[in-house]
């Protein structure tokens, strides 16, 4: 049973991680990351780390991903950037180096004898045990993390809300929208002008 759950969860995790990296649309990438986080939580449950699995779902899937999706929606289609003009040998070198690291880790892990798994009681990984460790032995780390989160919140507000949004000049807008938009706009303004002229001449003739 454990083996089946492990197999399904790890295949889902790897597939969704590949989707995160390979998708062009960041929205799809973020949703794939949600699947990755859920599969990792399942793997952590197999390791009897209930509290960390629950925190993974609540913190990542609940909070971080919502923020990601908001920013992706704010940025819009400008966030969709393909692979572009990369030198092929550079891409090949990166993938080769990454594969090398994987093979290296797998060889080390398979070759090493890490001994028997410790036997644990039912209290292992429970919120009570983790919470006790967090506020007794690791109190300093706990407080430092809270200070860092506070500083990051301030930094996020300053980065995101500080300054004034830049207004594009007409030339920049035209350059972004392209010639067809320029022609369309010119046509529309000419039609409006002629309509106005027609109405004024009509009134003066009357």
């Amino acid at each position: 049973m454990d083996l089946v759950v492990f197999f399904i969860a790890s295949v889902c995790a790897i597939a969704s991680a590949i989707a995160v990296v390979a998708q062009k649309n960041p929205f799809v990438s973020a949703l794939a990351l949600l699947g990755n986080l859920a599969s990792l939580a399942a793997l952590m449950l197999l390791l009897e780390a209930q509290f960390v699995a629950a925190a993974q779902i609540i913190v990542y899937a609940g909070a971080v991903m919502v923020m990601f999706l908001f920013v992706i929606a704010y940025v819009g289609p400008r966030g969709e950037i393909g692979p572009g003009a990369r030198k092929p040998w550079l891409v090949a070198l990166s993938v080769f180096a990454a594969l090398l690291i994987t093979v290296e880790i797998i060889v080390v892990v398979v070759g090493a004898s890490i001994g028997d798994v410790a036997s644990v009681d039912g209290d292992y990984g429970s919120p009570a045990a983790i919470g006790k460790a967090l506020v007794t032995h690791y109190l300093l780390a706990f407080e430092v993390v809270s200070v860092i989160l506070f500083m990051a919140a301030i930094a996020g507000v300053v980065f995101g809300a500080g300054g004034r949004p830049v207004r594009l000049s007409t030339d920049q807008v035209l350059a972004k929208e392209g010639e067809s938009a320029v022609a369309r706009r010119r046509e529309a303004s000419r039609a409006a002008l002629e309509a106005a002229r027609d109405s004024t001449t009509g009134e003066s003739a009357r």
Binding site: V20, L43, L47, V64, S94, A98, A141, A152, G160, G163
Partner: protein, 101 residues
């Protein structure tokens, strides 16, 4: 437990490498941040796996701390992305080379 700890470590290594390839090859800062999340989560899995191997709660506390730091990092990164969007800059890490030496 029928599944050994090394299997978890191998899955974690594969996930880490996939995230690494994403960070190296993608150009959108949003996707780079998402790939960084994949890397951090794979490390979390390693920490939890070794924690299970040893039988203590230290690794799990470490994983929780890593989650907190990852959240802080995401806040700063997304704040930068929003600032770049507001200043009408190109969201492309290949184009953002003003600070190049």
């Amino acid at each position: 437990m029928s599944v050994g700890i090394p299997s978890f470590l191998i899955v974690s290594a594969i996930l880490f490498t996939i995230g690494l390839v994403g960070v190296l090859l993608r150009r959108s800062p949003l996707t780079i941040l998402l790939s960084l999340e994949v890397m951090l989560n794979s490390v979390n899995l390693t920490l939890v796996a070794f924690s299970r191997q040893v039988g203590g709660s230290d690794g799990q506390v470490f994983a929780l701390v890593v989650m907190g730091i990852a959240a802080a990092e995401v806040v700063v990164g997304l704040g930068l992305v929003v600032a770049m969007t507001r200043r009408a800059m190109v969201l492309d890490t290949d184009e953002l080379r003003t600070l190049n030496g």
